[in-house]
C-alpha cells in the first residue's frame, strides 16, 4: 500500500481464482486468526503439561534418574503422596479429617491412629494459607471497595482506583523485598510495635507464617478489591433505599440487599486471591521459615535438590486439582465468565 491504492477493478483482476475463493471461504479468516496462537498454546503450554502429567506416573530410579518406560508406569507417586504407609483408603480419609480438626482446634484430641502423609499435610497447609489470605483480603478489601466505589467523592474515585492498581504494575519481587524490610528485626515497624505492651522492640517478624500471610495479602488484595468494586458499581442503590423505606435498618439493608448483589464480585475476587495464594512459591520462599513452606516450594524442591521428578509432577497435578475444584465451585456459584 505504498502510496497508491489500486482501484477495485485492478484489484479484482490481480486476484487469481484460487485466492478469491480462499478469501471468500468463511473458514479462512478463522484459520488465519486462530492458528498461530493455537499452535503456540498447544506446543508450548498443553504438551508440556501433558509431559508433566505423564512423568507423574513414572518412578525414580536408584540414582535419581526418571523411569518412565511402560513397565514403570503406575499410580505409585500418587499413592506415596496421599496414602500413609500401610493405611487403607478409608484410614487415609479419616486420618486427614482428624488432622484437619486437630489443626483447627486450639487443643489436641486423639481422634485417629495415624497422620496423613507429610505431603498431604503440606497440601492442606497450603490450602489453609490460601483460605486465610482470601478471607483477610475480603475483610480488609470489601470496605475499601465500598468506600472507593460508593462513598468517596466522585472526582477522587478514579484516582483512588488507580492508586490501588499502581503497585500491581510495580515489580512483584521488589514489593516482597519491601515487606521483608518492614518485618525484619530493628526495622521501623518492628521497633514501633515495641511500644505496645508485651512486644519486644525490634524483634524480627520474618521467616514466619505471619510474614507469609502479610506478603500474600499485600500482593493479591487488589485482585479482591477490583472485582468487588466493579460489582458494587453495577448495583442499583435505589434498591437499598427501597429496603430502608420498607423498614429495614442500615445493617439489614446491607446484609439482605447490597451484599447479595455484590456476591459475583466477591466470588470472582476470592478465586483470584485463592488460586495464586495457594500456589505461591516466591512469597513463602523469601518471607517464610521452615514451618511456612508451601506446596509450590515442595514442587520446586523435588525438581531441584531432592531430584524426585515423578513425585514433583504428582505434587503439581495435585495442586492443579485444587485449582480445578476452586474454578468448578466458582462456575457453580459465580457468574459464568472468568475475569
Amino acid at each position: 500500500m505504498a502510496g497508491e491504492t489500486p482501484t477495485r477493478e485492478q484489484e479484482v483482476e490481480t486476484q487469481s481464482g484460487l485466492l478469491r475463493q480462499l478469501r471468500g471461504n468463511r473458514w479462512t479468516g478463522l484459520a488465519v486468526n486462530i492458528l498461530p496462537s493455537m499452535f503456540w498454546l498447544i506446543t508450548f503450554f498443553l504438551i508440556p503439561l501433558a509431559v508433566m502429567f505423564y512423568y507423574s506416573f513414572g518412578q525414580r530410579g536408584a540414582f535419581g534418574e526418571v523411569l518412565i518406560g511402560p513397565e514403570y508406569l503406575g499410580l505409585q507417586q500418587y499413592s506415596l503422596f496421599f496414602i500413609p504407609d500401610g493405611a487403607s483408603i478409608v484410614d487415609t480419609v479419616w486420618y486427614t479429617i482428624a488432622w484437619v480438626i486437630n489443626s483447627i482446634l486450639p487443643f489436641t484430641i486423639h481422634l485417629a491412629a495415624g497422620e496423613p502423609t507429610p505431603y498431604v499435610q503440606l497440601t492442606l497447609k497450603s490450602i489453609g494459607f490460601g483460605v486465610v489470605a482470601t478471607v483477610l483480603s475480603f475483610v480488609i478489601g470489601y470496605p475499601v471497595a465500598y468506600y472507593v466505589g460508593r462513598l468517596a467523592p466522585e472526582e477522587y474515585q478514579d484516582l483512588l482506583l488507580v492508586l490501588i492498581i499502581l503497585p500491581f504494575w510495580a515489580s512483584f519481587l521488589v514489593r516482597i523485598y519491601a515487606i521483608q524490610i518492614l518485618l525484619s528485626g530493628n526495622s521501623v515497624l518492628t521497633n514501633a510495635l515495641g511500644l505496645l505492651p508485651f512486644v519486644t522492640p525490634g524483634q524480627s517478624l520474618m521467616n514466619s507464617r505471619l510474614a507469609v500471610m502479610v506478603g500474600l495479602v499485600y500482593i493479591w488484595i487488589p485482585f479482591m478489591i477490583l472485582p468487588v468494586y466493579a460489582s458494587l458499581e453495577e448495583i442499583d442503590f435505589t434498591l437499598r433505599e427501597a429496603a430502608m423505606d420498607l423498614g429495614a435498618n442500615r445493617f439489614q439493608a446491607f446484609r439482605r440487599v447490597v451484599f447479595p448483589l455484590s456476591m459475583p464480585g466477591v466470588i470472582a475476587g476470592s478465586l483470584l486471591v485463592f488460586i495464586p495464594s495457594t500456589g505461591a512459591y516466591v512469597i513463602p520462599d523469601l518471607l517464610g521459615g521452615t514451618d511456612s513452606q508451601m506446596i509450590g516450594n515442595f514442587i520446586a524442591e523435588q525438581f531441584g535438590a531432592a531430584g524426585n521428578w515423578p513425585l514433583g509432577a504428582a505434587g503439581s497435578f495435585t495442586l492443579m486439582g485444587i485449582m480445578l475444584v476452586a474454578i468448578a465451585v466458582y462456575q457453580r456459584y459465580g457468574s459464568a465468565d472468568l475475569v
Binding site: M1, T5, R8, G29, L30, N33, I34, P36, S37, L41, I42, F44, F45, P48, L49, V51, I140, P143, Y147, L151, A152, D158, L160, V162, L163, I164, L166, W169, A170, S171, F172, L173, V174, Y177, A178, Q180, I181, S184, N186, V188, L189, Y218, N249, R250, F251, P276, G279, Y281, V282, L286, G296, I299, F303, G312, A313, S316, L319, M323, L338, V339
Partner: protein, 282 residues
C-alpha cells in the same frame, strides 16, 4: 423479624449505630489500607538513602550508594554490571515477547469474537488456562518439555515461555474491547466502498487501539516482571527479577535497596505516565 428477642434488638441497635457512622469508619479503614499499600514502598525508597551499612537503622541521609552504583562500583555484593546485563536481557525478552504476543493475541481475540466453531468453549478454556494455573507448574512443565525435545535453555526459551502466557493476557484484554465494539461502523465502511483490509486499517484497528495498547502494556509488564516461569527455563542467564531474587536471598543491603528503589520508581512512573496519556489501563 417479629421473633426478635431483646438481645437481638440491642445488637441490631449497635449495628445500626455502627452503620450510621459507617462512612467515617470506612474512610478510616480505606486510609489505613492505602498506608498498608504504600508504607513498605516508602520505607524501601527512604532506606536507599540511608547512611548505614546495615541498611535497616536510619543513620542519616546520603546518596553515596546511588553515586557508587551508577559509577559502576560494587556496593555490598551488588555488581552494577551484572545488574545492567540482567536489565538488558529483561528488556530484550520483553520486547520480542510483546511484539509476537500482541499480534497473535489480537488475532486470537478476533477469532474468538467473530467466529463460531466446534470446540470453541474448550479452546476458550485453553486460552484462560495459562493465566490461571500456578506459574511454578507452568515453568517446570516447560523445563521438562525443553529437556525432552533437547532444546538448550537460554533467552530464546524464556521468550517462548513468556509468549505462551502473554498471548492469553493480550487476547483477553482485546476481547473485552471487541465485545463492546460497534459492528455497524465496519458495515458502514464497507457500504462506502472499503474492502476488508481498508476497513481493518482505517476503522477496526483505530477503534481497537486502546485495547491493543493496554494488552501490549500488560504483556510487557508480565514479561518484564516474571520470575517463576523464567527462573526454570532460562538456563544460566539472568533477567532483572532473577538477579534481584539472588541478591534478596543474600539479605538486605544498601546496594539491593538502591536497585529496588530504582526498579520501583522507574516502573511506577512509566505506568503513571502511560495512565496520563492513555486513560486508565486495565
Amino acid at each position: 423479624m417479629s421473633t426478635e428477642t431483646p438481645q437481638r434488638t440491642w445488637l441490631s441497635r449497635i449495628r445500626s449505630r455502627l452503620f450510621r457512622n459507617g462512612g467515617t469508619i470506612l474512610a478510616v479503614e480505606t486510609l489505613l489500607f492505602y498506608l498498608f499499600l504504600y508504607i513498605p514502598i516508602a520505607v524501601l525508597i527512604s532506606l536507599s538513602f540511608n547512611d548505614s551499612r546495615y541498611a535497616l537503622v536510619w543513620q542519616g541521609f546520603t546518596t553515596k550508594w546511588y553515586t557508587d552504583l551508577l559509577a559502576g562500583q560494587t556496593v555490598a555484593r551488588v555488581d552494577p554490571d551484572a545488574a545492567f546485563t540482567a536489565l538488558v536481557h529483561s528488556v530484550e525478552i520483553a520486547l520480542v515477547t510483546v511484539v509476537v504476543s500482541t499480534i497473535f493475541g489480537t488475532m486470537l481475540a478476533f477469532a474468538l469474537d467473530r467466529y463460531e466453531f466446534p470446540g470453541k468453549r474448550l479452546f476458550t478454556g485453553l486460552v484462560y488456562m495459562p493465566i490461571i494455573i500456578p506459574s511454578i507448574v507452568m515453568g517446570i512443565s516447560l523445563l521438562l518439555f525443553f529437556n525432552i525435545v533437547g532444546m538448550a535453555l537460554g533467552l530464546h526459551t524464556a521468550v517462548i515461555g513468556h509468549i505462551a502466557f502473554d498471548i492469553s493476557f493480550v487476547a483477553i484484554v482485546v476481547l473485552a474491547r471487541l465485545q463492546s465494539f460497534n459492528h455497524t461502523l465496519e458495515e458502514a465502511a464497507k457500504d462506502l466502498g472499503a474492502n476488508e483490509l481498508e476497513t481493518l486499517r482505517y476503522i477496526t484497528l483505530p477503534l481497537l487501539k486502546p485495547g491493543i495498547v493496554a494488552g501490549a502494556l500488560l504483556a510487557f509488564a508480565m514479561s518484564f516482571d516474571d520470575f517463576v516461569v523464567t527462573f526454570f527455563i532460562i538456563g544460566n542467564q539472568n533477567t532483572l527479577p532473577i538477579f534481584f531474587f539472588s541478591m534478596v536471598r543474600q539479605g538486605i543491603t544498601p546496594g539491593v535497596n538502591v536497585v529496588a528503589a530504582l526498579i520501583i520508581v522507574v516502573t511506577m512512573s512509566v505506568v503513571a505516565v502511560a495512565q496520563w496519556f492513555e486513560g486508565p489501563i486495565w
